[in-house]
Amino acid sequence: MNLTLKIWRQKGPQDKGRMVEYKVTDISEHMSFLEMMDVLNESLVAKDEEPIAFDHDCREGICGMCSLQINGEAHGPDRGITTCQLHMRMFKDGDTIYIEPFRANAFPVIKDLVVDRMAFERIQQAGGYISVNTSGNTQDANSIPISKHNADLSMDAASCIGCGACVASCKNSSAMLFVAAKVSQFALLPQGKVEAKDRVKNMVFQMDLEGFGNCTNTGACEIECPKGISIENIARLNREYLAATI
């Protein structure tokens, strides 16, 4: 198929940036979206033009590195997938596709479609862990009884890959779904209870410091999240936060 691409080009963090139009031809519907971008970049390199910078790593839908706001949606029009798992069969011959970086002031653009998502790392460092000594005397995790229900919920929350689609989709640029997932995965387990109060307070504090917006429960994050993280986790985050501060 033949496509018109309108792609955000920005030389660096200080550059103002603009949309540039490209045409690609003979795109196979079996290609992934990133392979289509590869084809475009090869043609640019052949013409001695600067290729378009975009993020990716595993290309298996598990690392959370690929991003892109495609036709106004994080990771494009498909559901439950990352951009590397988005296939060109989701588009029609002759389509015009808008490709922009994930937008939020907390995710500054580094170049073209690459954004800096270190804000998520800093939130994690503020409390997204449990402190255990790896002394060799640590209790075997399997010997601690945990209800199947909570174990499942915790596992679901832990499947967040930190991609940032929730922030990119949210009209408020809120990071609540990400933080909710990272708080919930521990809040649901006895191992996480010890530091629960400090964790939720510190992570929310860091989230606010990074300049993410306020959640208004639109639910856009949950729809666009490639891992199907539920906004039930946000209600849990609110509960945990209230319990820790009151």
Binding site: Q69, G72, V204, D208, N214, T216, N217, G219, N238, L242
Partner: protein
């Protein structure tokens, strides 16, 4: 206050609590007003009680006014902050793909409700305050029904009321369940969502029926 409300979640919870308070208030307000459809005397009696009872006038009324002002000021503050969290906008943003119109336009529906409230205060509250506390006219427990009827003779006013209540319904279709989510109560989500839809349609519809009833029956 600014210290308590310094975190995003605290602001979110405060927003929800003020909203839940308004939800309860609206229910009471409708209950009183709906009697005007059936009985002039009951409506007069209830209005007289609400208008002269010390607790209602000097405790509940100030709390209500604070609640309303807090709610819309906080609502607009949050809206502005959220806009500031993304200063470079998307060229293409498909908001409808993943969120309802109601949830994305709370400030729009809220703004219309606010405009309505100004009209509503000019219509009923200012004259009422003037009657009772400025001119201090003698209380007539039977005056309320005529006052109400008189207001709804103007088709423009009736139209404005109807539009405002449609927007209130849209505001509540998202807001009701959102408030429960905000305070972390999601155990009965399906129940809350259904109840929210019923409330969001029934309460504004009640007010609309009252306005239309008096317009066509005076």
């Amino acid at each position: 206050m600014s210290r308590i409300l310094s975190s995003s979640i605290a602001r979110k919870v405060a927003m929800a609590l003020s909203a839940l308070f308004l939800i309860i208030f609206l229910l009471i307000h409708l209950t009183v007003n709906i009697t005007s459809l059936f009985s002039k005397d009951v409506f007069n009696e209830l209005s007289h009680f609400m208008g002269t009872n010390f607790l209602v006038q000097f405790l509940m009324q100030p709390i209500l006014i604070f609640g309303v002002v807090f709610h819309f000021v906080m609502g607009f503050v949050l809206e502005l902050r959220n806009k500031r969290a993304r200063t470079v906008k998307y060229v293409k943003y498909n908001g409808a793909a993943n969120a309802s119109w109601m949830s994305r336009n709370m400030a729009v529906s809220g703004g219309v409700i606010l405009a309505f409230l100004v009209l509503h205060f000019i219509d009923f509250w200012f004259p009422e305050m003037n009657y009772k506390y400025i001119e201090v006219l003698p209380e007539d427990p039977t005056r309320y029904f005529e006052e109400l009827q008189h207001k709804f003779t103007n088709p423009l006013r009736v139209g404005a009321y109807v539009i405002a209540f449609v927007l209130l319904a849209l505001h509540l279709l998202h807001g009701f369940q959102s408030a429960f989510q905000s305070i972390g109560l999601n155990k009965y989500t399906n129940c809350v969502k259904s109840l929210g839809k019923i409330y969001a349609v029934a309460i504004p519809a009640g007010f609309i029926i009252i306005a239309l009833f008096h317009y066509f029956n005076h």
